[in-house]
């Protein structure tokens, strides 16, 4: 049972890669740039985690869902994958939301142009 959380994270990360590939969201826009961005993000959040753990703010829970492998004191291996997922998700989401915003605004502009035309039609 110790692999449940890690497996869930890996499945989610696989989903991120598939969405990235399909919609060209992050790595499929620029591989080296995405790799460095992701690395900076993960390292930044790992430092944040380590500070929080050192100060005793949060700690690893006693659960059977994790492998028990630690990369640092109280820092489970799974956390590295969780932070990777958080960073990948954030960048995918920002790119996808931008695409969605473009579609929404296109529709709105198109419908307002149409509405404008029908008003003209009534007026003339």
């Amino acid at each position: 049972m110790g692999f449940v959380y890690l497996a869930a994270l890996l499945v989610s990360l696989f989903g991120m890669v598939m969405l990235d590939r399909r919609f060209r969201l992050f790595f499929w826009r620029d591989v080296p740039r995405a790799a460095v961005t992701l690395l900076v993000g993960v390292v930044f959040f790992l430092v944040w985690d380590v500070v929080g753990i050192d100060l005793g703010i949060f700690f690893r829970g006693e659960t059977s869902f994790m492998t028990g492998v630690l990369v640092a004191t109280e820092l489970p291996l799974e956390e590295v994958f969780f932070l990777t997922l958080l960073c990948y998700l954030t960048m995918n989401l920002l790119a996808a939301a931008r695409m969605a915003a473009a579609v929404v605004l296109d529709r709105r502009d198109a419908s307002s142009t149409q509405a404008g035309r029908s008003v003209d039609g009534v007026a003339s």
Binding site: R24, A34, V51, T63, A97
Partner: protein, 138 residues
């Protein structure tokens, strides 16, 4: 030191990077703005704001859901003396600082890593609208 105090330190670093990225994007986009019409500029700004707002909303909701699940099944614990005691469900409000930081830090690093904007030939309009996104965000 409380959880909020630690968050303040890291969020400050993120804020500095965010400002740097905004200034960088502003300087790089100057040429492009000069050659675009006010309508195009307004459209781009609305697209940026709507996209950022949408992504922020989705990530905060996902954080609320998954943080509650992760704490609920016992993946992580907190020292009650060092958190503010404000919760979203059973998730400390402080945890949302990670999501907020990600939303600013990552796109900022992405922008700062990009070279000076060179005029590119418009790519073939593949996969519905992705070219506009690519060009606008690169």
């Amino acid at each position: 030191m409380t959880y909020w105090a630690v968050n303040a330190v890291f969020l400050s670093i993120v804020a500095v990077l965010g400002v740097l990225a905004l200034v960088t994007a502003g300087v790089r986009g100057r040429a492009a703005r000069a050659s675009s019409s006010p309508a195009e500029r307004s459209r781009r700004r609305r697209e940026q704001l709507l996209g950022a707002g949408l992504a922020t909303g989705v990530l905060l909701v996902m954080t609320a859901v998954f943080d509650n699940v992760m704490i609920g099944i016992g993946l992580v614990g907190y020292d009650a003396a060092r958190i503010s005691g404000v919760f979203v469900g059973i998730a400390p409000l402080e945890d949302f600082a990670y999501a907020v930081a990600a939303l600013v830090l990552l796109p900022s690093v992405w922008v700062l890593l990009g070279g000076p904007k060179t005029p590119r030939a418009p790519a073939a309009p593949a996969a519905g609208g992705s070219t506009t996104v690519e060009e606008a965000r690169s």
